[in-house]
Amino acid sequence: MWLVHRSTGVAIFFFLLIHVLDTALVRVSPEAYNEVIGAYKTPVYGLVEAGLVAAIILHAFNGLRIIAVDNSTWALRHQKKLAWGVWIVFAVLMLGFLPRHLMHVFGGA
């Protein structure tokens, strides 16, 4: 779990670097921005984006688990169940998000 948290954190960080840079193009010109953002709409980036969302969900909910464990003895004693909980929430959210997202990606592009 610790490794998952660490690797997702790093992944998000690097994505964020790029993401901010490309968003910065908004300032340059609408054309440039749309061109770059257009790349996001291709299937490859669609998949990368799906991975990113997955990473964010895992990192976020595991982050919440860590915060809970730090603050409550109950959570500390049940941390394993909570870790399972993170995976379940992850599964549910991804099941909700993926079909929609992939539809947009493949359907809309």
């Binding site: 779990m1 610790w2 490794l3 948290h5 660490r6 860590i66 464990v69 730090d70 003895t73 500390l76 004693r77 941390q79 394993k80």
Partner: protein, 255 residues
């Protein structure tokens, strides 16, 4: 009288079976087949009983097959902390791990604990580990002269640090901690357990000195709540809980 169910028959003809031990070895002086310092796996097959512990199996290897196998042990019942090792990729005491709980159909993997320099076979250099312990000033600190009789302490006050007094300094926790593997500077969970035992002792007056040490870079904030330590502890100490209590004390300034 039900204690005599077959499974618990201590003496007598418990059926024996064959187990394979795969032991991670290293001879600092080299052997005829291996260079000095080279790490390699070696397999041994022995006959064992269901009631045997991994330590018994290691003894069979040492006593009957290869006397040069080096490992530490003393008490043989989990109270001296000599024989922490990685058994099937988990840190445990060899003397507290029964073969029957390990699926003897597969080879049993035995390695030295991680994060401390290997000296020979399963023996690691424990000095860095003990040095961290000494660092946190693990002794009662009080002001003023010693009292005539005992310092009073209610059972409830004692209960606060009961858990962390059980530590036998086996290093199973510290050498299971991923932060310790990557960063040898980290005090490691055992030292925090050792400090916890005094910080929460109502008789002690050195709490803030210890907390100060643990507030340091190499201290308690390095812990990423990986829980490996708690899972490894053969004494059932809630190590992560102890660490979290130390963090809480630092955050709130209350003990």
């Amino acid at each position: 009288m039900t204690a005599t169910a077959d499974a618990t028959t201590p003496a007598g003809e418990v059926p024996s079976f064959e187990v394979t031990l795969r032991i991670r070895r290293m001879n600092p002086e080299g052997t005829s087949d291996h260079a000095a310092g080279e790490e390699y796996w070696e397999e041994f097959k022995i006959q064992a009983h269901a009631t045997d512990r991994v330590l018994d199996a290691l003894h069979k290897v040492k006593w009957d097959l290869d006397g040069s196998l080096a490992f530490r042990r003393s008490c043989a019942h989990g109270v001296c902390g000599s024989d922490a090792m990685r058994i099937n990729a988990r840190n445990r005491l060899a003397c507290k791990t029964l073969l029957k709980d390990l699926n003897p159909a597969k080879p049993i993997l035995i390695e030295p604990i991680k994060g401390l320099p290997v000296e020979k076979d399963l023996i690691v250099d424990m000095e860095p580990f003990f040095a961290s312990y000494r660092e946190i000033m693990p002794f009662l600190m009080t002001d003023g002269p010693a009292p005539e009789r005992e310092r009073l302490q209610t059972p409830a006050e004692r209960e606060r640090f009961e858990d962390t007094t059980k530590c036998i300094m086996c290093a199973a926790c510290t050498s299971a901690c991923p932060v310790f593997w990557t960063d040898g500077q980290f005090f490691g969970p055992q030292a925090i357990v050792g400090a916890h035992r005094f910080i929460f002792d109502s008789r002690d007056e050195g709490q803030w000195d210890r907390l100060e040490i643990l507030n340091d870079k190499a201290g308690v904030w390095k812990c990423r709540t990986a829980f490996n330590c708690t899972e490894a502890c053969p004494r059932g100490i809630e190590v992560t809980k102890a660490i979290s209590e130390v963090k809480k004390a630092l955050n709130t300034g209350e003990i």
